[in-house]
Symmetry: none
Subunit: 271 residues, 2 copies
């Protein structure tokens, strides 16, 4: 472990060295505080809160943070999960159970590698944690590029919020501070770098959500997203399958061009 | 992960499949409870308590255990740490700081490997956790065969009791349920296998090319793939970005539905 080197690199890069931890609709201030403490234990600093149920700032959070005020104080509150991920390039949803979504499922240790690789490449990464009792909604999971599940005893699988944050932070810190990361995955990295993304940076979630909004408005107009009770699941399916492609900013514009072109087809045919 | 196989092996061996978790002089019942919950998350069952400061049984412990009564109820109380480790073959002390003792220092993952090896060989293993504020005394550490230290942010190193138990349990369960000790490609395999494709098989190239043909016919009709000398590159770009999503057979059909719907938009608007 070489923490000093890590911190040096972090400030040299002028980048947050870790992912944003995004707590969606947390219910208890104390859980926000213990989550902040767990972040501090593993050098994570950026906390985002989506619609915390007991308001913000919250004195119970400060107390439970056991001194992690450098994390609690600058935490930013968002009204929706969409807003909280808008500037990010890669978003991962934590979940305790399998979901019927076609998304890559990572273990915490593979996630740590993936995050380090992306952050080193200049991407902004965030991890979504759901509310204490229910976890993330399917719509929140659909915003993510991948899902992370920790291996737990299936007969007793409920981790509390701070513990879920702790495991993610632990694996991240372990691999980051090992410094051994690059060696074994060098080849793998090289082959991933082969992916042609040279024309453009990865799309932000805001750009992607704008594209989805465009597509869904046209699909509504075309009567595709019916009956209405099936609309949420259909929207999730389409978002999931296109999210997996990890469009660049240029590709988002291309795809929006495709949508516009397709909706013009019959106008032109009529000319 | 193959939990069923793990449990089968456990009962076949007629041994506790995991180490005993020994809490030395814990101060708060609530911490004993959350530690029990963390044990349950990772299939650890044997809790030993040395001189719990607020007596035993303790209703705060039961409440904080969130249902882990199968761990709390049979927990055994000892008056001294010596008595608590008397029947064990291999004892490990958790500590947050280096001690001036000539003992092997393990990381949680090496400890997990060591424990699995010893328990498989019929040994009884236990892990000592100190009281919340001060950790283990030097005398307690001296009872141990080895010391385990988790890699944490040295500037914010204090883990609470349940979180320390959680990390040990997590590494143990991860390696035990992997069945993969030391196979370096395990992670990569797991993450590749991780894509959930439950509704459908991966699309064949024939299906994918059929979808591309459908899309490109409509894009030609909409005038998108112009000028003609740029058409091949544009087609490649669109194919590349959609190929990356690795559609299933069902998703290919969904996407063809999307194309058809979009091209019908203006017909319907005109109705």
């Amino acid at each position: 472990m070489d923490y000093a080197k890590l911190m040096e690199k972090k400030s040299a890069n002028n980048l947050s060295a870790g992912p944003a931890i995004i707590l969606c609709e947390p219910q208890l201030g104390a859980n926000i505080g213990t989550a902040a403490r767990a972040m501090g234990n593993f050098g994570l600093e950026e906390m985002r809160l989506v619609d915390p149920k007991n308001g913000w700032p919250n004195e119970h959070a400060v107390k439970a943070a056991s001194g992690a005020t450098h994390i609690i104080d600058p935490a930013v509150v968002y009204q929706t999960t969409e807003e909280a991920v808008a500037d990010l390039n890669f978003v991962v949803a934590t979940t305790a159970r399998r979901r019927d979504m076609n998304k890559q499922v990572l273990k915490p240790e593979s996630l740590a590698r993936e995050m380090i690789r992306r952050i080193d490449a200049g991407q902004k990464v965030g991890i979504l944690f759901g509310r204490e009792k229910y976890g993330l909604t399917n719509d929140q999971v659909a915003l993510a590029d991948a899902v992370v599940m920790a291996p737990v005893n299936p007969a007793f699988a409920s981790l509390n919020l701070a513990q879920a944050v702790l495991l993610i932070g632990y694996e991240w810190f372990k691999q980051k501070s090992d410094g051994s990361l690059g060696r074994e995955t060098e080849q793998e990295e090289a082959s991933r770098e082969g992916l042609e993304l040279r024309d453009s940076r990865p799309a932000t979630k805001e750009e992607l959500l704008g594209m989805f909004g465009h597509l869904e408005r046209e699909l509504d107009a075309g009567g595709f997203l019916r009956p209405v009770e099936k609309r949420p699941a259909m929207v999730r399916n389409v978002r999931n399958m296109l999210t997996r492609a990890e469009f660049t900013e240029q590709e988002v514009r291309t795809f929006r061009g495709v949508i516009s072109s397709l909706t013009r087809v019959h106008e032109r045919r009529g000319e």
